[in-house]
């Protein structure tokens, strides 16, 4: 996999920071619009799990991702009513170019969530994200976002916000 120039790395980081902000603010439609048709939005239980053989905490293709957003937008998705307060920090970026105009970005994330819907718990989520993105117009589109939680094998509370 190829090296990425500082300029491209900066573009990619800006895009991911933008994606994170849309997720933090539950801007559902704008967030959904970032995705490509071959989307995979994935939170495995364990990093090496094969999704064809093992259950994941979340494994959406483009159709299911649209359903997820449609459900959140109904106004009756109680587990996000009202939406969680979130401000995630994404850092420790590593970039590579998979093919012409197609990139892999890995990063650590730290996501404080105020889960206001029932127990009003302040929660911390953390893990490693791998994105596959490609150029679309003057920005990027997301083909895959894989989120490996540090505690995916443990009991997990409601995860119906955009992680």
């Amino acid at each position: 996999m190829g090296q990425v120039s500082h300029e491209v790395a900066h573009e990619l980081e800006n895009f991911i920071v933008h994606e994170a902000k849309l997720a933090d603010e539950s801007k559902y439609q704008e967030w959904e619009d970032l995705w490509a048709d071959d989307a995979v939005y994935w939170v495995p239980v364990k990093e090496d799990d094969d999704p064809a053989q093992k259950i994941s905490l979340l494994y959406d293709n483009r159709t299911r991702l649209a359903t997820r957003i449609r459900q959140l937008k109904t106004g009756y998705r109680y587990s996000q009513l009202p939406v969680s307060g979130m401000r995630r920090v994404i850092s420790n970026f590593e970039y590579s170019e998979e093919a012409e105009g197609r990139f892999q970005v890995e990063a650590n994330f730290f996501l404080p969530e105020f889960s206001i819907q029932s127990v009003r718990d302040f929660r911390v989520w953390s893990g490693r994200i791998t994105y596959i993105v490609s150029r679309r117009g003057d920005s990027f589109q997301i083909h895959m976002k894989k989120i490996v939680l540090v505690n995916g094998t443990e009991p997990i509370p409601t995860l119906s916000f955009l992680i």
Binding site: D49, A52, I55, S56, Q71, Y78, S79, Q117, S118, I156
Partner: protein
């Protein structure tokens, strides 16, 4: 326990007292009477296929190891070294030749026997007296149940009528066997554990808690959220706390429960016909798997197997795995995706169930303590086996759970 809890007051024919969910004394009492003294579901034989395969589960607050030994026997041991009480196994599953305690190196065989102690010169006791504590265990069609004390009734009696529910799950497979190898998702609920079995066979909440699901996606559940007259599913109390939402009468066509058609899963349909004959196979393929809770902690959740784990008065964990069918691996991928869609913390259904249960856990502490459970008392029917049936939205299942619970907790059963 210092004071005796009057379960006949707290649980009545048509109402229950909110403290049954929120009292620490009740919870401590349950750990003993339900999770130490009675049959509790531990795991399925298909999860430990080879000699030395083991898994670690919790029964109440006790960690146990379920392991297949050299003779092929499945043992359930306490996960606690008999020397100084250290945890033998910190991994949740794996394969071992024996279990070695990390503290002083005592070695236990797969059958629980103490095989060796380090520096034996200073130790006179016979090793045979210090094997791992074995639980009483028994199984039905691969479903392994265990208890720390000899239960008052056999597993066969405990399951009673509900053996037919487990049979129905197994008969979804052309070989009559399920295979739980799809891995587990664990979802935390900040609510009392009893809300999980209660809610999983509550047919009344579907149109409300899951309104967003009904609006966002077309599924077989659309047939169960119409008017009171149009809903054809029924609710059942099978006795001994085992309860069911029976969707079969409400399905419109074969394989509705799978969201599929005979053409799309032809190889599965063919192998079912070969295994059971056309008539029986077609009935199985129309009726689908059960949606039923086996008291106290197992849920046959259609094409999923679910375990309820109490972790405190105000917290519980729901474990879920897709129910793979031996002889029909072509369904695995679809079953995994359906399980993720329905069950777990990010799912279209269970995420909302958790929030609603957690709201109840808070609200139950305030005001008038009673919860009404009378719905459907005016229209239940009872068959010759004592199975009570009513409209899908009736609280027959909840009453079935609570009235058995009352029997167990007041020492009557």
């Amino acid at each position: 326990m210092t004071t005796k809890i009057d379960y006949h007051h707290l649980i009545q024919a048509d109402k229950i007292h909110g403290s049954i969910y929120t009292s620490d004394d009740v919870y401590a009492d349950e750990l003993e009477k339900i999770f130490q003294n009675g049959w509790v579901y531990v795991g399925h034989e298909s999860e430990i296929k080879k000699t030395g395969d083991y898994l670690v589960r919790e029964i109440g607050r006790s960690s146990v190891i379920m392991v297949r030994d050299k003779s092929g026997t499945i043992n359930v041991h306490s996960n606690r070294c008999t020397h100084r009480g250290n945890m033998l196994c910190n991994e949740s599953e794996g394969n071992k030749r024996n279990f070695t305690c990390p503290y002083h190196g005592w070695v236990f065989g797969l059958d629980g026997e103490l095989m060796d102690v380090a520096y034996p010169g200073g130790f006179d006791r016979p090793l045979s007296e210090l094997g791992l504590q074995a639980l009483f265990s028994d199984s039905y069609r691969g479903f392994v149940f265990a208890s720390f004390k000899q239960p008052a009734i056999s597993l066969d009696e405990h399951l009673g009528n509900a053996k037919s529910l487990i049979d129905r799950s197994c008969e979804m497979s052309p070989t009559g066997k399920i295979d739980l190898k799809g891995g587990w998702v664990r979802q935390r609920f900040d609510s009392n554990w009893k809300m999980l079995p209660e809610n999983d066979t509550d047919g009344y909440h579907v149109n409300y808690v899951h309104q967003s699901f009904v609006m966002a996606i077309e599924s077989q559940y659309g047939e169960f959220v119409g008017t009171e007259d149009s809903i054809k599913g029924v609710i059942k109390d099978w006795g001994n706390g085992h309860t069911e939402i029976d969707f079969s009468a409400g399905y419109a066509k074969t394989l509705d429960w799978l969201g599929s058609t005979p053409e799309k899963v032809k190889s599965y349909v063919d192998s079912m016909h070969k295994a059971y004959g056309q008539e029986k196979a077609d009935k199985i393929l129309f009726d689908g798997p059960p949606h039923a809770c086996i008291f106290p902690n197992l849920f046959l959740g259609e094409m999923n197997i679910v375990i309820f784990q109490p972790t405190g008065t105000n917290s519980a964990v729901q474990w879920s795995t897709p129910m793979f069918l031996d002889g029909a691996p072509e369904l695995d991928f679809k079953l995994i995706r359906q399980s993720e869609g329905a069950l777990g913390p990010a799912a279209f259904l269970l995420a909302d169930d958790a929030s609603i249960a957690e709201r109840a856990q808070k609200a139950l502490l305030s005001g008038d303590p009673w919860c009404d459970l009378s719905r459907g008392l005016n229209r239940e029917t009872t068959d010759e086996n004592g199975v009570i049936t009513s409209h899908m939205t009736d609280e027959t299942s909840n009453r079935g759970f609570w009235h058995h619970y009352r029997k167990v907790m007041s020492g009557e059963g």
